[in-house]
């Protein structure tokens, strides 16, 4: 064994105390669902973790009623100061139970423990802490004095950052005075169930947070429920479009955080070693299953070869495997369906003239895996330069001038994120000005903070999460 083979360093799952089955969390109680229960499997082993209830229309209605009652009787009338205190409590309990949540998330989602431990869960706690502080300071979010909550918020979240997306949705909604009904993703419901437990430990009044598990139909029933005042959705652009259509003509407020095809632009004066890290972080963080991933590398022609050489060298050091091993850099793909989609798109990319190179790594025999891959020779017209792959696959395009880089970066219906790598500040700011993307990172990538608004242009959705803008999405003022 060579040194770099690092002996296994698995994080213990003994910290978890899971139930064999989980119900729906409605009005502070666990109850069975009307639909057929479903299993969640661990993507790295394909083994069943637990069974989860499936909420039908009646269950969704019960959840919305509970949320309505809690809004009317408890949470709405409560002072901002006290709402804030509940959220601070939740933030602290999340910090206390951080490792348990990280292990559960890695188990259920397939992402490396390194990420859940060092990124997802700390951000979750930080999000609640930040929003807790807003609860009694709503006069300053920018909507004038005494802004009001919408009422009942219906929230549907994806599987790529299950607990973090829950935090992005629940924390600002509660801080603003709304109550919520949230539907976690079908393949990753586990940490939401643990979150219900956190709410109970915090003594959160019944009905303020309601969790309904299930598939797409459950989500559809939820966002269409007539007594919902606000809908927040994170997921695919296709589903986001459907929701926008369904809500047309109603008085429901809507925010959408959808797909992306982020451009990561590397200029010839980039700090090269850090740019390589940023490219890797941009597309292989969370196996590339990130809506704001830097999935299109736009590299200046004069440095294309050196960037590719170093990138491949670096990719060869990525450790793919057991998500619970503390040394794993790249974990499992979340589901077999997602794995099929990635595989199909890469095949298309090759068929259209791209040249694929995958990091040499041994993939486990069980579970859903895709080796970190880079496809060179991709043109702006290629399928894999336009469609969101949502996997560890980087499409590489080149450019000659800043204008060309900007034109190519903007040549997409999406507009969520972009990266710029250059040592020249004046150029960076000018390029950032002209990029049609909601988040632009310079000499870094995939950074998130509750104080910083996140969200997309164009078909990447509308509304922002984080900062004052994120609070505004859950409040109405001047009416």
């Amino acid at each position: 064994m060579t040194f770099l083979d690092y002996a296994p360093a698995p994080e213990s799952t003994a910290i978890l105390d899971l139930r064999p089955e989980y119900g729906l969390f409605i009005d502070g109680e666990w109850r069975a669902g009307g639909g057929e229960p479903f299993a969640s499997v661990s993507p790295s082993t394909e083994r069943q973790i637990a069974m989860f209830a499936s909420a039908d229309e009646g269950d969704v209605d019960a959840a919305v009623r509970a949320a309505r009652a809690a809004f009317r009787d408890v949470w709405g009338p409560m002072s901002g100061r006290d709402r804030g205190k509940y959220l601070f409590r939740i933030a602290r309990i999340l910090q206390e139970r951080a490792r348990e949540l990280a292990v559960a998330e890695s188990l259920d989602n397939g992402k490396p423990i390194k990420e859940t431990r060092d990124a997802d869960v700390p951000l979750v706690a930080q999000w609640f802490f930040h929003c807790a502080g807003w609860a009694d300071k709503l006069d300053w979010v920018g909507l004038g004095a005494n802004p009001q909550p919408h009422g009942v918020a219906a929230q549907v979240i994806p599987w790529n950052f299950p607990l973090l997306m829950l935090a992005w949705k629940v924390a600002p909604a509660l801080a603003a005075g709304n109550t919520v009904v949230l539907k976690p993703a079908e393949t990753t419901p586990l940490t939401a169930m643990l979150f219900a437990d956190v709410c109970e430990q915090a003594g959160l009044p019944a009905g303020v947070v309601n969790l309904v598990t299930g598939a797409g139909e459950t989500g559809a029933a939820l966002v269409r429920h007539p007594d919902v005042d606000k809908v927040a959705f994170t997921g695919s652009t296709a589903v986001g479009r459907e929701i926008a259509k369904a809500l047309a003509g109603t008085d429901k407020r809507l925010t959408l955080e959808l797909g992306g095809k982020g451009a990561n632009i590397v200029f010839d004066d980039a700090p090269l070693d850090q740019a390589i890290e940023g490219i890797v972080d941009g597309i292989f963080f969370n196996q590339g299953q990130v809506c704001c991933a830097g999935s299109r590398l736009l590299v200046q022609e004069s440095v294309h070869d050196v960037v590719m050489e170093r990138l491949k060298e670096r990719m060869a050091t990525l450790r793919v495997g057991d998500p619970l091993d503390k040394n794993t850099d790249v974990g499992a793909i979340n589901s077999s369906a997602q794995l099929e989609r990635i595989t199909r798109l890469v095949e298309t990319g090759i068929a259209e003239g791209g040249e694929a190179w995958s990091a040499p790594c041994e993939l486990p025999s069980e579970g859903y895996w895709f080796a970190p891959t880079v496809v060179t020779g991709v043109e702006a017209s290629s399928t894999i330069a336009r469609e969101e792959i949502f996997g560890p696959v980087l499409s590489v395009l080149t450019f000659r001038t800043p204008d060309e880089a900007i034109a190519k970066a903007n040549n997409t219906p999406y507009g969520l994120s972009a990266g710029i790598w250059s040592d020249k500040g004046s150029r960076v700011l000018a390029v950032a000005d002209r990029l049609r993307a909601g988040v632009v990172w310079t000499n870094t990538f995939n950074k998130f903070d509750p104080a910083s608004p996140f969200g997309g242009y164009k078909e990447s959705g509308y509304g922002r999460e984080g900062g004052r803008q994120g609070m505004q999405a859950y409040l109405k003022g001047g009416e």
Binding site: R81, G84, K85, F88, Q126, F129, H130, A132, G133, W134, A135, D136, K137, W140, T401, P402, D403, I406, K424, G425, S426, R427, L429, A430, V431, D433, P450, A451, G467, R468
Partner: protein, 313 residues
């Protein structure tokens, strides 16, 4: 209320005197002889006695002895400013999130020790149990309120500025530095919190002269601060005579701002004039700035505006 019968005594007699006359200050629930606390200064994260060796006798509402509190001198003030200056960059350099968690931690620890504060406030301010409890609870909530501002105040006090030219232009509030404070003379714990917490939000370090009448909660608060992950020196507490200490702080060249909220009974105009020598920022006692407002936090900041070119491509 408290008298200020100044005494000078040796270290050993200062330490042993309270024990000898303690019964008046203890609740006789048993025959056990109590072990009363020695109230010292809080400077640089440590609890020194005054270098002057002086103490002030604090008595309860009925005039009975409670404690001998250290009476700070100008040299203690000098040491406190030095400690504050040393600690300030680290505190300001911590992330806003981190500062918020520390301020919240202060609230948590204070809550756990609220009985002690209720007891002290009852004794030295002559409050009923309910009044004392109310003041402690309000102080805790005020710390929580401020904890929530650390990562938000820049969004209220700062701005992106649309200048007429090819420039990126951003203004952000930054802490002014070392803030010397004469705390309100009323409500020893709440008044102190209302002036110290807003200074800490953005990353200032503080030298505070607490209420002369009720100094005990100030030193006990120092004990809370010392065990709340607040770096030593960020808050320094000088019990003593505000009239004696304030001029030294107002004229100290290494102090950046002077909060005279509790100096209404002093010759505060003269203090403001002293502060003008080095153009300190001054918060006057009248009309003052209301507590629990972002204005109070922003009063102790400097706005920094950064210009950066945005080139043609």
């Amino acid at each position: 209320m408290a008298t200020s019968a100044e005494t000078t005594s040796s270290e050993s007699s200062a330490a042993s005197a309270p024990a000898a006359s303690a019964p008046a200050a203890t609740r006789p629930t048993s025959d056990r002889l109590s072990v009363p606390k020695t109230y010292k200064l809080f400077i640089g994260g440590a609890f020194p006695r005054s270098e002057s060796g002086r103490v002030t006798e604090v008595t309860d509402a009925r005039g009975a002895f409670v404690a001998n509190v250290a009476k700070a001198s100008r040299k203690d003030a000098r040491d406190a400013v030095r400690a504050a200056r040393k600690a300030q960059p680290g505190w300001a350099g911590a992330t806003a999130y981190n500062r918020g968690q520390v301020l919240y931690r202060i609230a948590e620890v204070l809550e756990g020790r609220s009985a002690q504060f209720v007891d002290e406030l009852q004794r030295v301010e002559g409050l009923s149990a309910a009044q004392a409890r109310r003041q402690v609870e309000d102080a805790i909530d005020l710390w929580v309120w401020h904890a929530g501002w650390t990562d938000k105040i820049a969004q209220i006090g700062g701005s992106a500025n649309p200048v007429a030219g090819p420039y990126f232009n951003l203004s952000v509030p930054e802490p002014t530095g070392v803030v010397a404070i004469v705390a309100p003379q009323q409500q020893g714990l709440l008044g102190l919190t209302s002036v110290v917490a807003p200074a800490l939000v953005t990353g200032n370090a503080v030298v505070v002269v607490p209420s002369a009448a009720a100094p005990l909660p100030a030193i006990s608060l120092g004990e809370v601060l010392a065990t709340s992950d607040l770096p030593g020196g960020v808050v320094n507490v000088l019990t003593g005579d505000p009239a004696e200490l304030a001029p030294w702080l107002a004229s100290h060249a290494d102090v950046n701002a002077l909060d005279l909220s509790g100096a209404g009974a002093l010759d505060w105009v003269e203090l403001e004039q002293l502060a003008a020598d080095t153009l300190k920022r001054v918060i006057r006692p009248v009309p003052g700035i209301a507590p629990e407002t972002p204005q109070r936090i922003l009063a102790l900041t400097e706005t920094k505006t950064v210009w950066h070119t945005k080139s043609r491509l």
